[in-house]
């Protein structure tokens, strides 16, 4: 089936074209949802067939599916398909979450009227280019799709563009991610300069890697990771993601939790053959991941908007994945082990399922209550049984409770970081940040859950359970959040599966058996430490936000309330950017304005003035006396004759 993989993005793209161009009458149910569901389902079925082939041990990385796109002389740009285990994981995530979100949209977007057509068209375009991104076989093609998913993200964040906050959030997301995109582009330009090709097959081969000098490799990989910093909302470019919550919740679930923000992690994982050549970059990747995880987890503590809590949680979990990838690179170099790499990709997949679930649950709540503010919710568990239960499963999964999926992957990531600490002590500090994040994650997730579903209603709302079309996807995702962790133990296990994608980097280390993996997890005291911290976090949240009469102002008063305010203001990072834009950019614009006005305009006006004045002087020559002109002609001819007859021969011409 692999040779038909190029058809996967074609299905949603066809749906996009149909929804965008068909006459209104023929859109049928929900203004085009039928075509959207059809496109998503078609792509999902094909993806599953492709993934099945990969699971059976088949890959498509030899460039046999490649065609020329642009030929300039003897240089050609080719496009092709690259399907390995990593692509397969992404295909599973995109197809499952994409399809469920499209179904869910049928209920969630019901009240939007005719704008649903725009919504479905944009969602289908997004799914199509996201598939393209994960099956692209060179950096150029990947970059094109990378930009296209950014465009779709912009369009969908700004879906309610008549709201100024949504319009500015869309712009912000677009501009901030662009900073990363430029770095990504600079990175691939450096690679192209040395290797002369952007195909993965050429770049990842021994000859391709050897062609890049080691200092340039560090620069190129760090810049490519810069693209991931922008797209995956890593510190310090993470502030666009909470703002991106202005879009519909389905968009947040699909684009800003499960798929597009994973593109940065995917890019980093994809670039592993290059990254392991540059340990400095790996440490940078891990450090950014660790800082992001902790900073975002703390910022999530004090948010009152249910979607913003989830957004910060997403950033924090993405930080985990990056941290895992950075640590995994050290394990590849020093221990011939793909543990970190597989842990990060495993967390990527699990997180996609439980975070999409959490977002869709939040969407269900918002749909029912009509507000994002958790202070006005409370007591929803009684009226929204399915939503509250599925969200509880999602929260337990992200908090890392066994046997839900988050437990396995988070534990694997932390174990990999701990293990990498043997080779560089910096990872020990990052590991501490990791477990602190695990504790905070459990706390803020249950703070959110208790504030939303437990206790008594804090405002006058008339909530009811969402329709079946919304709750069924929730139940499917909750099921996945429970079982996807067991992928670690199916067949040869997820670890052995992912090793296939970077086996060129491993010196033929024997596979760990599934049994060994399980033993390792359950005999490691660190597993129980993380678990204990998570349980403490949940109990603390229960004590603070469920048991009545708890005086929360004790915490608010700490550090004279400065800490509380800093958290509520998201560590002032957003404010810093605003101030930066206002003060620094404004000052720079003033300088530029003065330069333009005085120097540039001065030069232009000076030339005009000079021309005018010279004209004033020279026009005196034009006095109308023909004899004067004739005289000048005669004198001129005499001078020319003297020049030609005497001066030039004398000079040797």
């Amino acid at each position: 089936m692999l040779e038909y993989a190029w058809l996967i993005p074609v299905f949603p793209f066809a749906a996009f074209i149909l929804i965008a161009l068909l006459p209104k009458r023929t859109l049928w149910w929900e203004d085009g949802a039928v075509y959207a569901i059809g496109g998503a389902l078609g792509a999902m079925c094909l993806s599953f067939l492709v993934v099945w082939d990969v699971v059976m041990g088949d890959t498509l990385i030899d460039g046999s599916q490649r065609f020329e796109w642009l030929v300039v002389g003897d240089f050609s740009v080719t496009f092709g398909i690259w399907i390995d285990q990593l692509s397969a994981v992404m295909l599973v995530v995109v197809s499952v979450v994409g399809t469920l979100v499209v179904f869910y949209s049928g209920g969630y977007m019901h009240g939007e009227g005719e704008t649903r057509r725009r919504y479905y068209a944009e969602i289908m375009l997004f799914i199509s280019v996201m598939y393209g991104l994960v099956i692209a076989d060179n950096y150029l093609l990947m970059f094109i799709f990378w930009e296209l998913v950014g465009l779709c993200s912009y369009l969908l964040i700004g879906f309610w563009y008549e709201r100024p906050s949504a319009a500015s959030a869309a712009k912000r997301a677009f501009i901030v991610t662009r900073v990363g995109d430029i770095m990504f582009m600079a990175g691939i330009i450096i690679l192209f300069k040395y290797v002369g090709s952007l195909d993965f097959a050429d770049l990842f081969s021994g000859a391709g890697v050897a062609a890049v000098p080691s200092d340039m490799m560090i620069l190129a990989t760090a810049l490519i990771f810069g693209g991931a910093i922008g797209k995956s909302a890593q510190f310090p470019l993470h502030e666009w993601l909470p703002d991106a919550m202005e879009g519909p919740t389905t968009v947040s679930a699909l684009i800003h939790a499960a798929t597009m923000v994973k593109a940065g992690v995917y890019l980093t994982a994809r670039s592993y053959p290059l990254l392991v050549q540059a340990p400095e970059s790996l440490l940078f990747v891990a450090a950014i991941g660790g800082i992001t995880a902790l900073v975002a987890a703390t910022a999530a503590l004090a948010q009152n908007d249910i979607k913003r809590v989830l957004a910060y949680s997403t950033i924090s979990q993405l930080g985990y994945m990056t941290l895992g990838l950075g640590a995994g690179g050290y394990l590849v170099i020093h221990a011939d082990s793909a543990a970190g790499y597989s842990a990060a990709t495993f967390h990527l997949m699990n997180h996609a399922f439980f975070k999409a679930l959490l977002f869709l649950c939040a969407g269900s709540v918002i749909h029912a209550v009509g507000t994002n503010d958790m202070r006005q919710m409370g007591g929803l568990g009684k009226v929204m049984k399915i939503t509250s239960l599925t969200m509880l499963i999602g929260s337990l999964a992200i908090a890392g409770m066994p046997p839900l999926s988050g437990f396995w992957s988070k534990d694997e990531v932390l174990a990999a970081v701990w293990h990498a600490g043997e080779f560089d002590p910096a990872f020990m500090m990052l590991w501490v940040m990791g477990i602190a994040t695990a504790f905070l994650t459990a706390f803020y997730m249950f703070r959110m859950w208790f504030m939303t579903f437990a206790g008594e209603p804090r405002s006058d709302y008339h909530a009811h359970e969402s329709p079946r079309i919304m709750t069924v996807p929730l139940m499917i995702l909750a099921g996945l959040a429970v079982v996807s962790g067991f992928a670690l133990f199916i067949g040869d296990g997820f670890k052995a599966f992912m090793e296939g994608s970077i086996d060129g980097l491993l010196a033929g280390a024997g596979h760990e058996s599934v049994f060994d993996v399980a033993v390792e997890i359950f005999t490691d005291p660190l597993t129980y430490l993380t678990l204990a911290l998570a349980i403490v976090g949940i109990v603390l949240a229960w004590r603070m936000y469920y048991v009545p009469g708890f005086d929360r102002s004790v915490f608010a008063k700490g550090f004279n309330g400065k800490l509380q305010r800093a958290l509520e203001n998201r560590w002032y990072i957003s404010k810093f950017y605003d101030d930066f834009a206002i003060k620094v950019v404004y000052a720079a614009s003033l300088v530029a304005d003065a330069f333009d006005r005085h120097v540039i305009d001065g030069i232009v006006n000076g030339f005009a003035y000079l021309g005018g004045n010279m004209g004033q002087v020279l026009r005196r020559l034009q006095n109308g006396n023909v004899q004067r002109y004739t005289g000048l002609i005669v004198v001129g001819i005499c001078l020319l004759l003297i020049l030609v007859l005497y001066v030039l021969p004398w000079g040797g011409w």
Binding site: Q622, N623, G624, N625, Q627, T630
Partner: protein
């Protein structure tokens, strides 16, 4: 046979006299006459060089003579046009002083 240098000196003098007249005389008719003198200096050169060429190569080549005839014919036409212009200028300004006819200027 008169040596060629004589002819060259003669035609040069004629040309310079004509040019001097064109540059200094105020009467437009005299200016026109001086132009004729310059033209005839060129005609003399054409005839003279034609003759010299034939002598040098002992052939009969009358191309230069024919050119001189053409030149004379064109000079006649030029005089007719020039006199017509002077006449209309005189009608307009009641003068043929070229210093006075200087409206075409800044």
């Amino acid at each position: 046979m008169i040596p060629i240098e004589y002819w060259l000196v003669f035609s040069s003098l004629l040309f310079v006299i004509g040019a001097y007249g064109v540059l200094t005389r105020r009467n437009a008719i005299v200016v026109l006459m001086c132009i004729e003198i310059m033209l005839n200096a060129a005609n003399i050169n054409l005839v003279m060089f034609s003759s010299y060429h034939s002598t040098l190569h002992t052939t009969v080549d009358s191309t230069g003579q024919v050119f001189a005839l053409f030149s004379i014919a064109i000079a006649a036409a030029e005089v007719a046009v020039g006199l017509a212009i002077i006449l209309s200028v005189y009608r307009r300004y009641q003068t043929v002083d070229v210093d006075k006819i200087n409206i075409l200027r800044w």
